[in-house]
Symmetry: C2
Subunit: 233 residues, 2 copies
């Protein structure tokens, strides 16, 4: 994020802009290091080195490690959750299928714009002992999460959503289906980042699985007997 | 796993049995530590201490750290994958719904018998940089994984399985849906282990989501228009 101005083409950057850039740049660098190697393994020296500044600069902007973690969560991670849970149109809120599809689409959108998110989420938020977990839990919009469960339960009672789904578990299922492959795909494919065609394939696959899974079971028996028509506890 | 024999009630344990028990006990203790705190954070001293033996005993049975990791994977982790992928009946193999349900049931079975598995899987196998990952990849039964994809693709072409699912991604979806909640539920619920009622609820939920998701889309349009009937890329 820092720009090197060449003597021949001054960019007209005022000193005040440079100061803002450094703090943002430090946050970007830290987020990437946390995502790549985890919070515990990341030192202030590494952050400073990756950002091209003195370690004193890191302390200048973030005082200490705890405040740095606060800033990462407040300014980088929590906004992604806020994006996913932002209010939807009334029409969307009424239809649990459209609502679930909206969550899926937003998760793919936000992880596309922030490729560091899945790995960071897996390492430090959902993982037992994750070092950003307690901070993120405080910032989760539990009201919105609850409203989604209520919408689902209502639709289940009306017969428009699969009654065998557990309403309180569905959002976590969506998270698992989207985030786990995105967090682990790098190793699976041995290439940096994930090719767009793979992301689109996963997006279609998860959408199909969710939309199909949310459907109420068919009334007419299918031609081939299968597990769904047998009651399994 | 070690038993303390009281002077009054000799258990009649022969020295040979004691030796076998120590090695198995060390493997059990190591697996639990790896699951609880990760491979990198676990030292030989901690293993010895937790097992109630001298560190020299750990080296006696496992020579060095690399051989210890080999033994953990060979004797504790890989057998769980072998269990999940063990051959099924011909009837099961023909029906992708029954096959998928079988995988779900086996995953719940094996994680019930080995509660350390989900967390270990999340920390060290699926996670980027997981320290048991490369060993496990070598031991995955890729033929069986491939066969499942082929069975799905065939059923999709015959119209009995949702054509919008990606056959090659479905098993990983099943893994994500089962393992992620089991690996993270401890923190979510703040109780050691997961109550049986929660496991059963998750089991039913995942089964319903998968069986519904694998269904081909309905031919007759549903009463309420929803996202599945809009084409989304």
């Amino acid at each position: 994020m820092t720009s090197k101005s060449s003597p021949r083409k001054p960019r007209g950057r005022r000193p005040a802009d440079a100061i803002v850039d450094v703090r943002e740049h430090l946050l970007d660098v830290t987020t990437q290091l946390f995502s790549d190697q985890g919070v515990a393994a990341t030192t202030v020296a590494q952050i400073a080195n990756a950002a091209g500044v003195a370690t004193a600069m890191v302390h200048y902007y973030f005082t200490n490690r705890e405040k740095l973690l606060d800033a990462i969560v407040d300014e980088r991670v929590a906004p992604t959750a806020a994006f996913v849970w932002q209010p939807a149109t009334e029409e969307t809120n009424r239809d649990p299928f459209v609502l679930a599809q909206t969550f899926i689409d937003r998760l793919f959108d936000v992880t596309n714009r922030m490729p560091w998110l899945p790995s960071l989420w897996l390492r430090e938020i959902v993982n037992e002992g994750g070092l950003l977990r307690s901070r993120m839990i405080k910032r989760l919009p539990f009201d919105s999460v609850q409203r989604f469960s209520v919408t689902l339960t209502k639709a289940q009672s009306e017969g428009t959503v699969n009654p065998d789904l557990e309403a309180g578990l569905l959002f976590n299922s969506i998270l698992a289906l989207v985030m786990l492959p995105l967090a682990t795909a790098k190793i699976l494919q041995n290439v940096p980042g994930i090719p767009a065609v793979e992301r689109d394939m996963l997006h279609r696959h998860v959408s199909a699985l969710l939309m199909g899974g949310m459907q109420p079971p068919r009334r007419s028996p299918p031609t081939k007997p299968h597990a769904a028509s047998r009651s399994k506890s």
